[in-house]
């Protein structure tokens, strides 16, 4: 009996009137877990019942604890007829199962009904007593922490990053079972909600088991998705990155620790198999050890204690090569060899992370993606979902081989998605091919000495841009130049990635959101024919999307894309492609060339004039954008020293993909051997393309937008944040739709949506929309639905200018920093290695100064009539951090699935009223759960699905929403004791002094 779940039902409030005669309700509550049900007494005639029940105790297996949700049903007692259900609350008790998270769930939960929405609230207290020791947990996977955050969570450090974990479970969709014909929509919806809740619990437990097998203790970048395959079933799948995380108790506590690696080693008594080399490496190069914040000693000990039992994950080969490295051989080759051996052991060397501990990412190759069109068939045996597994395995294999072709052994920023229409399903996977530092990947065999020396050779801020592939044997034709930063290594001229901008990357100016949008009509077809048609269209779409991205990037005067996400959506009669990314100017890469247009008929005078007019417009736009995004790279006078005679001054040509190191998909996007060609305006299509390039309106002044976590070039966020979801559906006029008309409609839809957002959020100026996430779906023949979730963050304009300058200076200085300087400030990296902490400690002052405008001070303002508000503020953000605040605790993952249905659509304000209310309710339920866990924010929030179906003729609509995120506790930086930030700032933050001066 591994666990006892205890539940107490305290009270209800704002209940709906269930008895028309008395205008009151006789409410009672059923508490169900697994197959056990308890009931409270009936609290007669009240809309605010006080049950104050006893503790209901469920004695259950920990397996059930993980899988099952706690189900609370509020009912109205009726003496003569059946009791009416008021609504339900599902509580995921997973956060109570690991020690560092929440200890109790207690608070007001909205009572939810799939037909009526939220109907009052109920106050519940939930506790879990776990009886057994940790070993018992291994049979379930209690204790494995899950994070949606795609970086190492803020109050942890990564000891080892093990790698990819995936799992999927399938089931029949209750909506399509025969019984659905005779049961009520409510019963059907509840069956679905419950099933999905169960399936996600099971999935999480299974993934947890895999993590334990890998000797990890956490999953980071956990992404769980549902595929509603209709008749053929329901698939819940998840991917993530298994890690071994160590909790940082407090900043003050870990800083001293990194200065005394040997001391920590002594504290670990079970170090049975000490490697003398490993140990000696520490003291022999003490300074270099200090350069690294996180004492490597702990990872050694783990390695030694686990290596003998580890199945396949410990690369034995690495052990031997370690000592060789100390002799100072060719580091890079060795590094590659090591890492490769570490990664080759794995089936899929994939990482769902998008931001990494410093030093983890060595080189980036480019985006790799793969798609596959499948025909869905009934899943015959839900217990063995082999087909679906095989499909994904196939795609992952493809990704892996693409990465290899780019000279990379790993894929980072990896994600998977599907698009389903009737029985056709497109499976997509994409990521960024990369070379990684083995230090975090394996359980030992790493010599601090080797790596650190290697690191020193790698200049900060540009290392990741250097090509990982062999320049004599390139996977595709590309133009290489010497890195504009270190002048030692080769870099491509354009870089596309799916990850966030590395924190140490040197960026010039600001970034911006770049989108490529595309529609293609497709004939309606059945089964195989349909799949074939789609397969044939896909390469063209990829090509077009890619071309658009490249052109738009050049038009912005930028040379790299981060956070690239290409979504292809399939509908009955069309395919939609939407690519979003954040463009930046990387200082290490060459200045992008312009765009040159050429006409088809060079002899026609007026035509020529038209062309030159267009050319001028394009050139003007580029110049304007450079100014807008403050892109003014230093004119390098050292070009003479460059051994490659690069014809950089000559403007580059449109559609010359050859220059990019980009997607290696099935198709060759490089235009073969055609090294350069001019954009020929030879048909209306091309004309449209150029026009659409020029019609993209930049955001109004004071606004920036990006789809990455933070905006390069802005680093003085205030605490004022606003997360939002916006949904738009347009109906296309079905009359003779052409590709162009479709493209225009889609383009307008997206542009108008952005314009509306800018208008709505104008009070937050100066402000940046971060993590802008567009999703497109085609719910019906003529409907296009676009869903956007993002967070708007206000920043301090004046300081922005100053700190940008300081930032550039700082990065320039860093670029030129040689070894000696590194030794002088051995702790610099130490402070930096707080994984991607976007706020230097100097910011504490800033926050205090700006906070009167932020949400944080609402409590103070509330002094007026409404001071007795009992509802605490819960922030939600798609980012992994809260501006101006520090996350002090992760309380567990939030993963919720809701269905809402109505048969009185008009009465509820039509489709807009219905969905608006539903999304507001979903937010409310997420906030209530977080608050009950004791949290005050959700980070890495994502709305993974928003499936909306309407039938206005029948006055009906239905919507399914799936959201997830990490519940956290945060504290304002100004509230934190200043002492803790001052202490490290005093001696180990030389790099931040620039920032301090400006505050």
């Amino acid at each position: 009996m591994p666990g006892k779940l205890k539940v107490k039902i305290v009270a209800g409030r704002h209940l709906p009137v269930m008895d028309r005669a008395s205008d009151l309700t006789d409410a009672f509550v059923e508490v169900k877990f697994g197959n056990t049900t308890f009931k409270t007494d009936v609290y007669p005639k009240s809309l605010n019942p006080q049950w104050n029940s006893e503790w209901f105790k469920f004695e259950v297996d920990d397996e059930d604890l993980q899988d099952e949700p706690l189900q609370i049903t509020v009912l109205d007692h009726d003496t003569y007829s059946a009791n009416d259900a008021i609504g339900k609350v599902y509580i995921d008790i997973d956060p109570l199962l690991y020690s560092e998270a929440a200890t109790v769930i207690s608070g007001w939960f909205p009572i939810y009904d799939t037909i009526h929405g939220i109907r009052g609230e109920i106050n519940v207290v939930v506790k879990v007593d776990l009886f057994n020791d940790l070993n018992r947990f291994r049979q379930s996977s209690c204790g494995v922490k899950f994070f949606c955050t795609t970086s190492i969570p803020k109050c942890y450090r990564a000891v080892i990053i093990h790698g990819f974990v995936e799992e999927l479970v399938v089931n029949e969709d209750p909506e399509y079972q025969w019984i659905d014909r005779i049961r009520t929509p409510r019963a059907s919806n509840e069956a679905r909600q419950r099933l999905i809740s169960l399936m996600s619990g099971e999935l999480q437990r299974k993934i947890g088991l895999k993590v334990l097998e890998m000797r990890g203790n956490a999953v980071v970048g956990y992404l769980q998705c549902f595929d509603l395959e209709g008749e053929s079933g329901l698939v819940v799948r998840a991917i993530g990155t298994a890690c071994t995380l160590d909790k940082l108790s407090s900043p003050a506590a870990f800083l001293p620790a990194c200065n005394s690696p040997s001391k920590e080693m002594k504290e670990i008594p079970f170090n049975e198999d000490p490697n003398p080399n490993t140990h000696s490496s520490g003291p022999s190069t003490p300074l270099k050890n200090q350069t690294y914040s996180f004492s490597p000693s702990k990872s050694y000990s783990r390695q030694s204690s686990s290596s003998d039992t580890d199945l396949s994950l410990t690369p034995k080969t690495g052990m031997g090569s370690g000592s060789a490295g100390k002799e100072g051989g060719p580091f890079k080759a060795l590094l590659r060899q090591q890492t490769q051996s570490a990664l080759e052991q794995r089936e899929f060397p994939f990482f769902t992370l998008t931001a990494f501990p410093p030093g983890f990412l060595v080189h980036v190759g480019g985006v790799v993606s793969a798609r596959s069109v499948k025909l869905l068939d009934r899943i015959h045996n839900p217990d063995e979902p082999e087909t679906r597994d095989a499909w994904w395995a196939e795609i992952r294999q493809e990704i892996k081989s693409h990465a290899k072709a780019l000279g990379c052994h790993a894929v980072v920023g990896y994600s998977e998605s599907t698009s389903i229409c009737e029985e056709v399903c497109i499976l997509s996977a994409s990521g960024t091919a990369a070379v990684l530092n083995p230090r975090f990947l394996q359980d030992g065999t790493v010599e601090g000495c080797l790596e650190q020396r290697l690191e020193e050779n790698l200049p900060a801020g540009c290392g990741f841009c250097h090509i990982p592939y062999d320049e004599l044997n390139m996977p595709f034709p590309a133009h290489l130049t010497y890195c504009y930063n270190c002048r030692k290594q080769k870099v491509p001229d354009v870089l596309f990635t799916t990850i966030d901008l590395p924190t140490d990357a040197t960026v010039i100016g600001k970034g911006c959101l770049i989108q490529a949008r595309l529609c293609r009509l497709k004939k309606k077809a059945q089964a195989e024919a349909n799949a074939t048609a789609i397969s044939n269209l896909l390469p063209f779409m990829e090509y077009e999307v890619h071309t658009q991205l490249m052109n738009k990037l050049k038009l912005k005067g930028m040379n790299a894309l981060f956070g690239l996400r290409i979504q292809i959506t399939v509908g009955e009669n069309m395919l939609m492609g939407l690519a979003s990314a954040t463009g930046v100017y990387l200082a290490a890469l060459p200045t992008p060339g312009g765009i040159q247009i050429a006409g088809k008929t060079p002899n026609d005078g007026s035509y020529e004039q038209h062309i030159s007019h267009m050319q001028k417009k394009i050139n003007d736009t580029i110049a304007k954008n450079k100014e807008l995004y403050e892109i003014n790279p230093p004119i390098s006078e050292e070009i003479i020293g460059s051994p490659i005679p690069e014809p950089r001054q000559r403007s580059r040509l449109l559609r010359s993909q050859s220059e990019s190191s980009d997607e290696v998909t099935e198709l060759d996007l490089s235009h073969g051997k055609k090294d350069a060609f001019v954009l020929e305006i030879d048909d209306t299509d091309a004309m449209e393309d150029v026009h659409s390039l020029l019609t993209d309106v930049p955001p109004p002044s004071g606004f920036y937008s990006c789809n990455t976590e933070i905006m390069p070039g802005i680093n003085n966020w205030t605490s004022e944040i606003q997360m939002f979801t916006s949904v738009r559906v347009i109906r296309l006029s079905s009359l003779n739709l052409t590709n162009q008309a479709l493209n225009k409609n889609f383009n307008d839809l997206c542009e108008n949506l952005l314009k509306s957002l800018y208008f709505k959020l104008r009070s937050m100026i100066p402000c940046c929309l971060c993590h802008v996430n567009f999703t497109v779906s085609l719910p019906e023949d003529e409907l296009i639905q676009v869903t956007v979730t993002a967070v708007a963050i206000t920043f301090d304009k004046n300081q922005a200018l100053q700190t940008t300058k300081a930032h550039v200076e700082k990065s320039l200085q860093r670029a030129s920093t040689d070894n000696e300087e590194l030794l002088q400030f051995p702790l610099e990296l130490c402070s930096d290695s707080l994984p991607s902490h976007p706020f230097p400690p100097a910011k504490a002052v800033t926050v205090e100064k700006t906070s009167p405008m932020g949400e944080g001070n609402f409590r103070n303002r509330s002094a007026a009539p409404c001071a007795n508000s009992t509802v605490g503020v819960v922030k939600m953000t798609p980012l992994s951090f809260i501006p101006g605040a520090k996350i002090t605790k992760y309380l567990g993952i939030i993963n919720m699935f809701f269905i809402r249905e109505t048969t009185s659509l008009r009465e509820e304000g039509g489709v807009s009223g219905f969905l608006h209310a539903f999304i507001a309710e979903v937010f409310a339920m997420v906030r209530a759960h977080v608050a009950a866990l004791g949290g005050n924010a959700v980070v890495s929030y994502i709305m993974k699905q928003c499936v909306f179906m309407e039938n206005p003729n029948k006055n009906q609509a239905q919507c399914l929403i799936n959201v997830s995120g990490d519940a956290v506790v945060f504290a304002r930086e100004s509230e934190l004791e200043v002492v803790s930030t001052q202490q490290p700032a005093a001696n180990c933050q030389p790099a931040c002094t620039g920032g301090e001066v400006t505050t």
Partner: protein
């Protein structure tokens, strides 16, 4: 291409004050958009009319959803669906319950019933306030009335507690509820010159002094059910007021009163002779108002009577306000020197309030 669905939902509910005002004023989405365009917002922000339309629709939808909660403001505070900062909640509530002077003057003292609601059409036409806005204001009055009607304790406190209004607005509502409950006539032509503020001022004085709640300040039996009501005038007090009749009925007393006042005011009053000539009429008027208050009909006509019997005569003689003040002070005080008159306390309770009211009512 038509927009089927277009929504924006923020984790913190966005409230646009300007749009809120337009919504409260009862403008349709179309009118609101037109008004916003006229305000020059498009030029300021570079937005398009379509953007404005979508934004306005969105806000209207939000307000519509919030309206249910605004009907019971404490619900707005405790609900979980819309995360709204307390300062914004206060603003939403305060503005929702705010009313137009023109409107309130039309319905002040009227029974808040369906009958009156039917007249809203005419009020809307007359005042130029949209029917929608009239309905909201009327429903607010009625809602507040219904909630506090049966409650014990201070009227203002009750309103503040159940509707979370600011002190100022709660006092106004107390006046509205008080007037509606006692059905004071305010619509007569000769009362048109009075503002809502004038009536509210009088209402406050009357609530403080003439209701059951007013005497309830003295330690009373906490179990008694009737007392501590701010809504109704103290019936016993009204009954007692009949005793004041002697002041005008008894010829000697009246003469004595007059001579006391005249002696004291001689040389101090610019309109002394007019006062002297009118004293008996004025006194009769004021005392008769008091003695008639046992009849509901006469309670309703209180303000008409006061204006007819006192304000108008003085005004026709061009009494300056300072003289009215001097006269009323002296008129009230002199009664204490009338040896034969035994109802001093009653007189003070009546005249103290009446003096305040009259001074407020005395203007052009």
């Amino acid at each position: 291409m038509t927009s089927e669905l277009d929504i924006f939902v923020g984790n913190t509910t966005l409230i646009d004050e300007d749009v809120y005002r337009l919504w409260l004023d009862g403008y349709s989405v179309g009118d609101a958009v037109a008004l916003r365009v006229r305000s020059g917002i498009l030029e300021q922000t570079g937005a398009t009319a379509a953007v404005l339309q979508s934004d306005t629709m969105d806000h209207y939808r939000t307000f519509h959803m919030l309206e249910r909660l605004l009907h019971a403001p404490p619900k707005l505070l405790h609900q979980l669906i819309y995360q709204i900062p307390p300062s914004r909640q206060a603003l939403l509530i305060e503005r929702y319950y705010a009313f137009d002077e023109a409107f309130v003057r039309e319905v002040l003292g009227k029974k808040l019933s369906k009958g009156t609601k039917k007249d809203l059409d005419d009020i809307s036409t007359k005042t130029g306030i949209t029917l929608k806005s009239c309905r909201r204001q009327f429903d607010n009055f009625k809602r507040v009335f219904k909630v506090v009607e049966e409650m014990r304790g201070s009227l203002v406190d009750n309103i503040q507690q159940h509707f979370l209004l600011s002190d100022r607005l709660a006092r106004d509502y107390a006046a509205i509820v008080f007037f509606a409950n006692n059905r004071f006539e305010t619509g007569k032509k000769k009362l048109q010159y009075l503002s809502f503020g004038d009536f509210a001022f009088c209402a406050e004085l009357m609530i403080q002094n003439w209701t059951l709640g007013a005497v309830g300040e003295a330690p009373t039996d906490p179990d008694s059910q009737v007392d501590d009501m701010d809504m109704d005038l103290d019936k016993e007090f009204l009954q007692d007021l009949k005793e004041l009749k002697v002041l005008v009925a008894d010829k000697d007393l009246l003469d004595l009163h007059k001579s006391l006042v005249c002696t004291a005011l001689r040389g101090k009053l610019g309109v002394f002779s007019e006062m002297e000539a009118n004293f008996k009429n004025l006194s009769r008027g004021l005392v008769n108002v008091a003695t008639k208050l046992t009849h509901n009909k006469d309670v309703r006509d209180l303000f008409v009577d006061l204006v007819e019997k006192f304000v108008e005569p003085c005004r026709s003689d061009h009494w300056p306000l300072s003289d009215v003040r001097l006269f009323l002070n002296q008129y009230s005080a002199s009664v204490h020197s009338l040896d034969g008159f035994r109802h001093q306390a009653l007189w003070d309770r009546y005249m103290g309030t009446l003096r305040g009211c009259l001074l407020r009512l005395y203007h052009d």
